[in-house]
């Protein structure tokens, strides 16, 4: 029998993964640093038309597309004359499990069924668990969800407790773990024990499943307004939502739509810290995932992450926790829609960005999620107070993650703060160089790196030579 200590299991990682996702990632390798991303997406995944058909079988997608007229009006009251873009919202909470994650789970679960796996496993503390569980029910497969839930005091984050409840409501076995990245170790052991399919968030299935979301937005807007969105804003954590949606927008012909990523600013909190774990009011859609996953996507639970956000991101902004709570309340109070934190992170940012855009422009917030006990601002703010966080009204610029949550005194205080994308692109390159120890960059590697950071080959070559002292062959 194989040893089950931490190091022994981690050493078997690649072999376990290969069996559990059925993808030989090595065959997409190119050059010394890269791989053929598009070939992986087209050979492993499914075509857009097939995906739409598969998703229809389990009631995924085709969610309502809503113009937020009162929020737009409010933004215009605060904006200079002529400014204040129209804000639209894709109501992804209408998916079967209450979030866009149903799209992401649908193709994995379909594939698992087709390939004869008896069940599916996902490592997630988010909506993805419920999505996998719900899709598995519809396809008569078993599901196991591995969550990071509680700290060493045994105190669970309310939002994650709710997500665990929802998985159990769909008949999942839920493994609730304390804080730590060794969740991945438990996950590997479950895969090995069960022979179930790894419904990873980061396979080509998971990403391609989101493409119809971008596609639907363009179709709906073309039908109603005869134009493409000027900007689409996407809450960013692991990068899958942004990657899938952007690919769908491009497939629908919206090449010049600006892609904006938005995360909650949790800078200063360590994501693997037992102490910090319950001092945040947001469990996803925050910089603690958004920044590391953008700058090193292959940290995921598969060897080559199909979610590669830097390829598509035109702008990256952050908002404060208190601002998201404010806009969540506003969405309920003046639009009559009570929704969860994920999409509202983007909505808070869109509210400010719209004020800088022209009146005849359109910005689309591309998701909502369900809300309820645990996910609601009341639950989160009560929890924050119990954990010693200073919750008050004031200037959100003063908010310090882990110490305070500051609810704006006025909607004009809601701000989308720019993240320096150029810096993130350079962190990505630094990480690639560190991981691969590359000294000379071949033509094919240069092409890969240029795609990865969404720059021309000439610009990429320049950065690699001047800032990283590398020899670039070709370009």
């Amino acid at each position: 029998m194989a040893a089950n200590d931490y190091n022994s299991v981690m050493d078997r990682k690649n072999e376990i993964m290969k069996k559990a996702v059925g993808i030989d990632y090595e065959r997409f390798a190119t050059g010394d640093v890269g791989f053929d991303y598009e070939r992986m997406m087209s050979e492993v995944g499914y075509k857009l038309e097939e995906i739409i058909k598969i998703q229809k079988e389990t009631a995924v997608g085709q969610t309502p597309f809503i113009e937020l007229k009162n929020i737009t009006k409010l933004a215009r009251k605060l904006a200079p004359a002529g400014k204040g873009a129209r804000i639209f919202l894709k109501d992804e909470a209408a998916n079967p499990s209450g979030s866009y994650k149903a799209r992401r789970a649908s193709i994995s679960v379909y594939h698992a069924e087709k390939e004869g796996y008896p069940g599916v496993v996902a490592a997630t503390s988010g909506n993805y668990g419920a999505a996998v569980a719900s899709q598995a029910v519809m396809r008569n497969l078993e599901s196991i969800i591995v969550q990071e839930v509680f700290d060493s005091r045994g105190v669970g984050q309310p939002e994650i407790l709710e997500k665990g409840r929802k998985c159990e409501a769909y008949g999942s076995e839920v493994l609730q773990l304390s804080v730590g990245p060794e969740l991945f170790y438990t996950f590997l052991r479950v895969l090995e024990d069960t022979g179930y399919f790894n419904a990873s968030l980061y396979t080509p299935f998971g990403i391609a499943g989101v493409e119809p979301l971008g596609y639907e937005i363009v179709q709906e807007l073309q039908e109603r307004e005869g134009k493409n969105p000027d900007a689409v804003i996407i809450t960013h954590a692991g990068g899958g939502n942004l990657t899938g949606t952007s690919r769908g927008l491009i497939k629908a012909g919206a090449d010049d739509t600006k892609i904006v990523a938005a995360s909650v600013d949790l800078s200063g909190l360590h994501m693997a810290s037992d102490h910090d774990f319950n001092r945040k009011s947001f469990t996803t859609g925050h910089t603690g995932f958004g920044v590391p996953f953008a700058t090193w996507p292959d940290r995921a639970d598969v060897p080559r992450n199909a979610a590669r956000a830097l390829r598509y991101m035109d702008e990256y902004v952050t908002v404060k926790q208190g601002e998201v709570f404010y806009i969540t309340e506003a969405l309920a109070q003046i639009e009559g829609m009570e929704r969860g934190p994920a999409g509202n992170t983007s909505l808070a940012a869109a509210f400010d960005l719209a004020q800088k855009m022209d009146e005849d422009q359109i910005i689309v917030v591309q998701e909502t999620e369900y809300t309820g006990a645990g996910k609601h601002p009341m639950a989160q703010l009560n929890f924050a107070k119990e954990n010693g966080i200073d919750v008050r009204n004031g200037d959100p610029d003063q908010e310090e993650a882990g110490k305070s949550v500051i609810i704006p005194e006025h909607p004009s205080q809601i701000k989308a703060r720019d993240v320096d994308l150029e810096k993130l692109k350079r962190s990505y390159l630094r990480k690639v160089i560190e991981e691969t120890k590359v000294k000379e960059v071949k033509e094919i590697d240069l092409e890969f790196l240029a795609d990865e950071i969404n720059k021309s080959k000439a610009e990429t070559k320049d950065i690699l030579e001047k800032e990283f002292d590398l020899t670039v062959l070709g370009g």
Partner: protein
């Protein structure tokens, strides 16, 4: 003597997955000092008392062993008390929307 919990009861068990000394090398210091713990729910296989080492069968039929910690484990997350810091939002933005155009 504690209360005897019947076989077949819906319970929650607890186990240490990795003791404090065996955590992954990359975890921060505070996390290194505590074990990686697991809780899972299932049907109790043989009658037992709280604190006993037991075996459970989950809803999908897998078995797990661990310390019996709860019977009919509750969901205790809730909305809780009203948050006064949010009460001003609705009236304030409705007031702004009602303001006359200049």
């Amino acid at each position: 003597m504690g209360e005897v919990i019947k076989a077949g009861s819906w319970v929650q068990i607890y186990q240490v997955v990795l003791p404090a000394g065996e955590r992954a090398p990359q975890v921060p210091e505070d996390t290194k000092k505590v074990p990686l713990e697991l809780k899972v729910k299932g049907f109790l296989q043989e009658e037992a008392e709280l604190g006993d080492e037991v075996e459970v069968k989950t809803v999908i039929g897998r078995t797990h062993k661990g310390e019996l910690i709860e019977v009919n484990p509750p969901y205790e997350h809730q909305f809780g008390k009203m948050i006064p810091e949010l009460l001003q939002v609705g009236p304030q933005i409705r007031e702004i929307l009602r303001e006359e155009e200049v």
